[in-house]
Structures are given as C-alpha cells and as structure tokens.
Symmetry: C2
Amino acid sequence: MGMEFKSLTCTSVYAKLKKLAVEAFDLTGVDALAKSDRLGRYASRSSLLNYHYATQRVDDKVLDLLQILADELELVSQFKAMRRGAVINRVDGYKSEDRQVLHTACRDIFAESAVAPEAVAAAKSELEKLQQFLEEINSGVLTGSAGQRFDTMIHVGIGGSDLGPRAMYEGLKVYGQNGRNVHFISNLDPDDAAAVLKKVDLATTLVAIVSKSGTTLETLTNEKIVGMAFEKAGLRAKDHCISITGEGSPMDNPQNYLRSFHMFDYIGGRFSSTSMVGGVVLSFYLGLDAFLEFLRGAATIDQLAEKTDIRENIPLLMAVLGIWNHNFLGYATLAVLPYSQALSRFPAHLQQCDMESNGKSVLRSGKPVEVRTGPLVWGEPGTNGQHAFYQLLHQGTEIVPVEFIGFKASQYGEDLSVDGSTSQEKLLANLYAQMVAMAIGQRSENPNKNFPGNRPSSLVLAEKLTPEVMGALLALYESKIVFQGFAWNINSFDQEGVQLGKVLADRFLTAMGDTGCSAMTLENKFLNQLYS
Amino acid sequence: MGMEFKSLTCTSVYAKLKKLAVEAFDLTGVDALAKSDRLGRYASRSSLLNYHYATQRVDDKVLDLLQILADELELVSQFKAMRRGAVINRVDGYKSEDRQVLHTACRDIFAESAVAPEAVAAAKSELEKLQQFLEEINSGVLTGSAGQRFDTMIHVGIGGSDLGPRAMYEGLKVYGQNGRNVHFISNLDPDDAAAVLKKVDLATTLVAIVSKSGTTLETLTNEKIVGMAFEKAGLRAKDHCISITGEGSPMDNPQNYLRSFHMFDYIGGRFSSTSMVGGVVLSFYLGLDAFLEFLRGAATIDQLAEKTDIRENIPLLMAVLGIWNHNFLGYATLAVLPYSQALSRFPAHLQQCDMESNGKSVLRSGKPVEVRTGPLVWGEPGTNGQHAFYQLLHQGTEIVPVEFIGFKASQYGEDLSVDGSTSQEKLLANLYAQMVAMAIGQRSENPNKNFPGNRPSSLVLAEKLTPEVMGALLALYESKIVFQGFAWNINSFDQEGVQLGKVLADRFLTAMGDTGCSAMTLENKFLNQLYS
C-alpha cells in the first residue's frame, strides 16, 4: 500500500451517489419496508450480533455503489494493513506522530498465527503480568499497607483512559466478582475525587493511575489528591497504587508503584479499552476469564472487518451507510441509542472515540478536506430518551439518523410479566416501534399529529450483553470509525485539536497567579472581567 | 395578547440579520476580543449568575437588531402572559392540549402578591403537605411497615418525571442530610430496577412513584416490580409508597399510597423540577429549607426574565443569541458544557427540556414552520470532554456553538494546591482557555496544527453551585427555551411526537404475543426477521 490515498470526491461513484441522494429511497412509500423481502435482505448476520438496515434510505443501487466506493477507497485493504502494523498515524510531509495503529493486537491472541506478531507478543506479556498480579491479590499474598486484602479499585484517568473502561465496566457491572467494587475519578473538578474518597475504605483499596505519557495534568493532580488521602489515613500510598503507562514514562517507576502495566505508543487512548487500560480494572472486577471473553468478542469482529463484501462486513457497512447519511444526504449528527441501561455510558465513549478520531479538517496529504468529516455523535439509553428528545427525532426540523442497539434477553434475568409481557419484551417492542415510526411516519389531518417519517435508522441486535458481546460491540464501533477515517482520507489517530487548549490553560494559570499584574494580556483582561 | 403571533421571517429585521450573518463578527480578527472594551461590555450581570458573551459572533449592530427582533416578536410580553396564566399550550384551530403553562407558579411563593394567585396557592398547599410529611418522617411518627425509620428514597419516573429531579439531585448531592440516600429507577429495562433493588434495605425505603397521568407504562411496570420486592421482603408496599400524580388520576388513591402529592395539568413534565416532582425527592434528601432556597433561585431568574432589554435579561439574551447561531449562522447543534462534575446530568436534562419543547415543525397557527426550529442539544462535563470530543469542536468540519457553565468555588471545598494552583483554579483556567482557543484559533505552518477559530461560545459563571444557584440555572434554561419557542412561533408545551411510538409499541407487543400467526402485518414480518 502506497501513501497516496484516494479521497471520496475522486471515486468513480461520487457524482452518481450525489445524484441518487436527491431522490433517495423513500421509507414512507406504500409498503416500502415490507415489499421485495427488504427486511430479510437488508440484514447482515454474524455469530455475535446482527445488523438490520432496512430502515436506512438505501436501495440495491445505492448499496452497489457504496460497495464500489469501499473498493475504490481500498477500505478493507487499509484496515488489513493497519492490523499488520502499517505506519498510518501520520500526515504526509508534516511533523506528526508517525506511528503504527495496533489496538487490534490486544485481542489477536486467540489465532494460531498473529498478524502483528511483535505487538501481540507484547500484549500477551502484559496479560501474563496481569494474571500474576491478580493471583497475588486473590490469594492475599499482596495486601494493603495495613495488611488487609484489596476489594476495591479506584481507576484514575481521563479521556481515553477513562471513558472506554468506564463504559465497559457499566456495561458489564452485573457480572462483578463477589465483593469487588470499582470507582472512577477523572475530572479535574476536585469534587469528583472528594465524592469517591468519601465512599471507600482506603485500607482495602487499590488505585490504578492511567496515563500513557505519565504527564496528564488532570490525572497527576488527582493522583496527588489520592496520595494525600492515603497519608492522612496512615497508609503507604506506594503499597496501594499501580500505574498503567508507557514504558519509560515518569510513571513507569517501581519506587512509586506496586506494579506498572504498559501501554504502547501504537495504541491511542480512545482505542485502549482492550489494552491494559481497560484490562486491569475489568479483570480486577470481572475476573481474568471474563476479560478474555471480552477480548474474544472483539477479535471476532476484527476478523469480520476483513471481509470485502459490505453486506457481510458489518462495521464496513455501518461506515459506508454513515457516509451516505452524512456526506450525501447531508445529516450533521448521529444518535446512538442503546435500549439497555447497562450501556448508559457507551454513547459517551463512542462520542469520544468517533469525534476525536474523525473531527478533522486535514487530509493525510496535508491538504484541506473537501467534504464534511465526522458528524456529531450523541445519545442516551432508550426508553428514557423516548420520553425526552425523541420529540425532535420524530417531528423536528433537524433530521437525525439513529443507530439503535438492542438485546433479546436482559442481563439480570430478574424480570416480571405485567399485562402479559415482560419488561424486556416491552423494551424491545418500544425499540422496534421507534424504528418503524421514524421510517414510515403517519399522516394526520391535525398537522400537529403529523409525522413526516423517512427518518433513517438501523439496529444492532444481539442475544444478551455478555462480556463477549460487549467486546464485539466495542470492536464494531472502533472499526466503523477507522473505516470512516480511511474514507475521508484523514488521520483518525492523532488529536492536535486538544493541544491549543492546554497551552492557553497554562497561560491562564499564570495570569491567575499573577495578582499584581495590570491588565495587559488577553488572559488578564479576560480574568478582570470575570472576577469584577 | 391576541392569538396572532408574528413569525421570525415576518419581523422587520429578518432580512437585515440574514445579510449581516454573511459577514458576521470575526473572532479571529486582530485583537478582536480585547478591543473596544468588548469583554466588559459583552457581559450581563445578575445577583446569582453572570453571562459572558464576548466570544459570540455578534457586534453592537447585530445585538441592536436582536433587540428589535425580541421586541417585535413580543417575547417578554408573551412570557409575562404565560406567568399570568394565558392558555398558550395550544395549536390554533386543531385539537390540542389547550392548557395554561404555569411551572413558574411553583416558585412564585416569595413575592407579596403572586402573579398567578390560584396556581401559587395550589403550589403552597402542596408544599405544606410536604412539610407535614417530612416532619412525620423526621420525627419517626411515620415509619415503614416493620417499624423502621425511613432513610432511603427510590424515585420512580421517566422522562420529565426523572431527568430533571435526577440532574438537580446530582447537582446538589454534596448537600445531603446525614444518612439519607436516594436512588432512581426510570428505564423500562428490567436491569435498571434490579440494580437499585440490590442496593437498598427495603425496610427503611420510601418509594416515590411519579406519573402525571398515572398511566405511564414504564413507571407502572417498575412500580409493580418494586411492589413485588416489598412483598418478597415481607413488607407492606402501601406503607412504603407515595405517589406524585395528577389529582384524580388512577394513582391518586389513598388505598394504595401512604400519601399523594399533586401535579397540575398546567405543568409539563420537562418543566416540573420545581413542582412536587422534584420537591419530594429533593426535600427528603436536602431538607425543606434547601429546597426553598432552590425555589428562591428560580424565582429570581423568573423576575429577571421579565426585563425587556436583552442586555439585562440573561435568558432572553441566550435565547436570541441561540437563534442568531441556529437560524442565521446555520449551526445545527448546541453543546452545553458545565465545568462541574456535579452537573454531569444537567446536559441530559436540558437535552430533554429543549428538544422535546422545540423539536417541532408546526406553527401555533397550524401552518408548517418556515425556518429551522430547535437545535440538537448535547454535552458532557469539562474537563472530561476536553480529552474527548473537543477535537471536533476545534478542528472538525461541523461548527458547534458552546454554552459553558463554570463556578468560582468548588462544592466540597476539599481542594489541593499542586504546582502552585488548586484543582478548581486549573479547572477554570481550562474553561477560559477553551473559550479563547475556540474564538481566536491559531495559525500554524503545519496544517494539522492549524486552528481556524471563529467558533462561538459563551459562559454562565456563578460563585458556587448552591441550591439557590442550581434553581437559578434551571430557570435560566427553562426561560431560554420558552423564549425560543415563542420566537419560532411554535407550541413548546406539547409532545405529540412521542405518541406514534406508543401506538406502534402496543402493536409490536401484540405481535410478539401472537406466536401462531403467519407473517401478515409489518410487525410480524419485522419480528420474523429479527428472530430468524
């Protein structure tokens, strides 16, 4: 693969798709959903999850062109190259991170021969360290400085070191090992740490500090706050703290930490849930076996993502349908609406993973992009949302494509039949009803009760939210995001857009400390107004 | 006030504003923020909170035209009429709810003469019932069926009966009375209830069931699940459950509830946080005095919202600036980013309140709207977001106006000086830095490090998140939403867009139960595919 990538506008099908978008498939047409076996044909099935897209505004013609689009942009071969260690985190001709992108190696541990052997060996070695560590905790060989067994973990991180692990933990909370508790501290807001420290018994608490660089301001600040709390409680912080950080970072230091687990420069924070960043906290809480199941689910989807047929490759299909909605139909945002309370933080994780990856304006060649890149991604769990913002989804002037996520069975299995149906059945009935309502709408003489319909959605449906399925869902979206970045021909793996804020924050901190100073800088002028 | 309302496009300034939008104020101009005392003049101050909008893309000319816009659309006189009981929840010539809109009456309890005396008297009477109830609980006169004092409340509701109270509770969690706990159940997902019931001691638990109609499917289902749990624990559910519901609803029944508090048909769910919907749970947790402070803060903003000068009336100013961004500059979404972990659920509440109110396509005359109505509203607390989706805010192709919210002091007051500044100072420095970075951007030779800037934002800044300030923030956004609905000339107070989903959900439930049936209906065909 050369470093010359094609852009969307240079494909042979761009103009054709633009033209077809003007009269895109009308979901409100007579019997539009039911005829031509649309419901059956517009479903892609895989071992862990199925994808139903009959309620997208596409027909066979559009799908065929999207296949050509995917082929001409070499989306799958770029994905294969990524998994095999190509240096794709770069912008041509300019200073950039110049790295491989190998989050997939974290879960490529089940195949007989790994596609990126070195990275997979490194991942396995960290897993072995983790297994050893967990055994020492479980057996009581390793205890806190007052000799008590660990039963609680505080995970300290921010952004990619926080949102993914937190979303996965919430998703799998029901499967916790007896007696184990987990808390998260992320925000620079001191109230965030204070609230957690109030709740735990530090004598039985492990703190996992997560920062790839070992220099993240928020995380170091929270680490110090936690350290003071241990001191105050008469405990040795060093015996309670572990670090998850890059090899050789300031935090990779046995003087200060009970143990250090490594992140690698080829894994971005927002793609790190299957690395030690997610691994330590999830294994502590769920046990290592469940974490391995989680990895297995992700690996299954990574395999699927190498298929070239968009109708079989679910993440690829989601990617090109997203591009159809965003670049051809012109919809600015995407809602991800899981019908599962356990996935309440999954949209926030995807929001980060998607928007930080694809909220870019520069091609991999360094030239400005010519089309819109990443959409706004947002969402809340249903049915809650139904009683909230769904009003706008049905009758607002902004059209919002929706990705629904549902499960046939609940996690707890504690359900109750009321009026002839269980809550899980009611939940699913509501999900399906929303898809159909958005698609077909409803005519009414009363304009206020009129639903225009023709609002696209799709559904990821799985049997039950197990660790394996959670891993599959995660990898599904990771790969979708990667495919879209390839299609927009941008570098999805850096985040220069967060740098300027850091620089300016330092200037404001200086200005805040500089009380005697007259209002000369913009920062001073700003502060004078805010505090007057 | 007649029932003929002007629309945006019919104002004398619409075309002028459209024209000015083409060359809107450029925040990246040389010294653009600092010159002409912009930072000082573009700040609106009030007793509880200040609003800074120098980083919006407006100048004096635009502000003057927005003032004319507000005047010609009679936004303030419509607001006054609303507070005084005008029947504005209606669509002219069509069957509609035909109701007053009087959520403001819940807090108009401090003035010597109330503007809507009847509704205020009703609100006061509910507050007295609540006071009596709390005294009985506090003194131990009223206990659970096993004779134990109540220390825990489960709040069961969904949508407007859930998001507002939950966001307020999270916002004020630090001020809880010793020993009192609160949990929420909302989702139809049976795992939501199961997770809460696992955590509480039912013998000391009160359950507040909230549904205006007394017929909300999700809430009744969760009520039954909770009822079964009491039975299983050998407790009488009736002695543990109270209802918050419309007078005369199926849930207004002393046979089934320890006590019933009333909601009124003139208060919509999404505007009900200052009614008994928020009142019962917040007073149980914070004490009645703190709840009254919360109401006082809201009342203060309601007063402010009657000023006609947009530069003094903060909610009105936020409303017209929002219209400038959405209808004239064409930005589709709005991010609300509170720099406070306690406000983590506030964006979700606003998302509901805003999108359910203003996600409409029909004028109050029944005619279709001619301009875009409510934007997508979304957000997460900073600084977490900085490590996530801010990449897109700075360098993406979608421009997202931002409303920042900040506080000069933290809630817990447990802060630590690290490297010469406290966490709260660092938090604020980050907030200010983001505003400036989005506004002025940064030129770089490296296109990937280039920040275009000119991305608008504003800041609501208060001293500290107290109950009074929380009430003020809530009322600020409620009034902003109401003003925008008036400006778009839509009925912000109904929610016909949620009805179709309910009807279709019933059809799906029937189809799911109807196992012997061949695939005739769309629902059956759909289910056949999903379950094949």
